[in-house]
Amino acid sequence: MIAIRNLSHRIGGATILDEVSLDIPRGGITAIIGPNGAGKSTLMGLAARLIPLQDGRVEIDGQDIARTPTEELARRLAIVTQRVGVASRLRVGDLVGFGRWPHHRGRPGPADHAAVEHALEAFDLTALRHRFLDELSGGQNQRAFIAMGLAQETEWLLLDEPLNNLDMFHARRLMARIHALSRAGGRSVVMVVHDINYAAAWADHVVALKDGRLDFEGAPREVLTGARLSALFGMEIAVEEIRGRPTVLHHA
């Protein structure tokens, strides 16, 4: 469980997060939803210690992240941020290989190579492994970074808008892959998603943020209602049950 307690964050004079407290359950997929600028990325960055904590506490499986060595955290939690960009020219295979750093710290062994192969395969990247990142499409690039997070083989996997840039085929494939990880693999995945229908279809738990505060959380079937989503996004949103799942109709 990731326990977030009274987390507040300010930049300059602006309050980005305001006293957020919530529990992200272990196992399964947790989807974080909310309008642009709600503080979703900031919340993830704080929980993954990419941003220094200002106020409040985060515990990962009972361990306070402020008091856990960062090397150890890297073996428990992997994060793929929203805006990834690498200055140096890098091949896909090398990038995914970096995911193993927390385990070998500079001296990769057979287990590391196997994990990299596995991650490349899982995201259809084997044929692209010798390509440079700046020679890939946006979606291929995105998949390479997610594969790096997967290769880290951590209990927790945090993905910030992983479906960005992905076509329908690869988006669905990624969700199926993550779902399998969270079931058979026993891993816990937290992801920011904008398409609520993906959250409704795949998530076990939904967390909604608005203006830096927790708006609601719970099982998708219970919390993804027309009234709640309309209030969250400030627009008319209808939710209908299609094939036993809440389905959001927001295009018209």
Binding site: A74, R75, V86, A87, S88, D94, G99
Partner: protein, 313 residues
């Protein structure tokens, strides 16, 4: 197994060294060889320091265009020199030209450059525009400070400082060389241990922290080492603005890898090759003494323009 490209570079450098030492050897061989060996060692040391410091600096700051030298480092060196002349007086400056001055130069350069570099990391990392601005502003600032200090200096002492303004591979003192080497060796030992971690630093702050690196601490340490290398090289031969850029671009182009265990030796070997061949050809074949730095600056300057004007990032 060592990389084939590195082996080829090492072999080429060895041949260049032999050419530098033995070409056109006549007269008292022992004496001339000793002179040449001193100069050769200095060229290799300056090359390695410049190449390695530039590659490290570019990794930490996340860019491939700016180098410590381009970011106003040469003007900082001049400022330090003119402050020393002002403080010690021209005669004192000329007389203090020994171990004390070398150490003082190095220490001042390290302190000043660390302050300068620290402005370029953290949030500013990878922000090329901000870095160019900082470089331009500090370059201007150091230059006008130098001009101001020079105005305070007695005109007759001005000639002392003038000779320090340009890189000179012509005359190198064995004493300076020994001191430079004494600083260079331990710095290189630390860099070699850091090399794998620097590969991860190259991914940028978020990825590096996510992978469990103590990013800020490592970057500060790396910049301190860069400052030491640049200070050693500058104190030995003076400012070489564009050599680092040239060498780093060539090393990345040749090795095409994020691994510093390959990039750093490649940069050191390429820089040595350029300096030894260049100086050898100028001295032995063309009979010229001090034009090498001009040629390097010209080639490096062209490359800089090419990179800035959008050739490739």
């Amino acid at each position: 197994m060592p990389d084939r490209r590195l082996l080829a570079l090492a072999a080429a450098l060895l041949a260049a060294c032999a050419f530098f030492l033995f070409w056109g050897l006549k007269g008292p061989a022992g004496f001339i060889l000793e002179l040449r060996a001193t100069k050769l060692a200095a060229l290799l040391l300056v090359g390695a320091a410049t190449g390695i410091s530039t590659v490290l600096f570019q990794t930490v700051t996340g860019n491939r265009i700016l180098t410590p030298a381009i970011l106003g480092f040469d003007s900082l060196f001049l400022l330090v020199q003119s402050l020393l002349v002002l403080g010690l007086g021209g005669l004192g400056y000329a007389m203090a030209d020994g171990a004390g001055k070398f150490l003082l130069d190095t220490a001042l350069m390290m302190a000043a450059s660390l302050a300068l570099f620290s402005l370029l990391t953290g949030r500013g990392r990878g922000d090329l525009h901000r870095m160019i601005l900082v470089g331009v502003i500090f370059g201007l600032f150091f230059r006008s400070m130098t001009a101001f200090v020079l105005r305070l200096i007695d005109p007759s002492e001005y000639s002392v400082i003038q000779s320090a303004m340009f890189a000179s591979f012509g005359s190198i003192e064995a004493g300076h060389l020994a001191m430079a080497a004494a600083l260079f060796v331990p710095v290189m030992a630390v860099i070699w241990r850091l090399a794998p971690a620097m590969d991860v630093i190259g991914l940028g702050r978020d990825s590096a922290v996510g992978l469990g690196l103590r990013y800020d601490r490592l970057c500060t340490l790396a910049l301190l080492l860069v400052a030491a290398l640049v200070a050693v090289s500058t104190a030995l031969v003076g400012p070489v603005s564009f050599l680092g850029l040239l060498v780093s671009a060539l090393a990345h182009e040749l090795m095409k890898t994020p691994r510093h265990a390959l990039l750093l030796p490649a940069a050191a070997l390429i820089a040595g090759l350029i300096l030894v061949i260049g100086q050898g050809v100028f001295e032995r074949i063309l009979g010229l003494q001090s034009t090498l730095s001009v040629i390097i600056e010209f080639a490096g300057g062209l490359l800089f323009l090419y990179l800035v004007l959008g050739g490739r990032r």
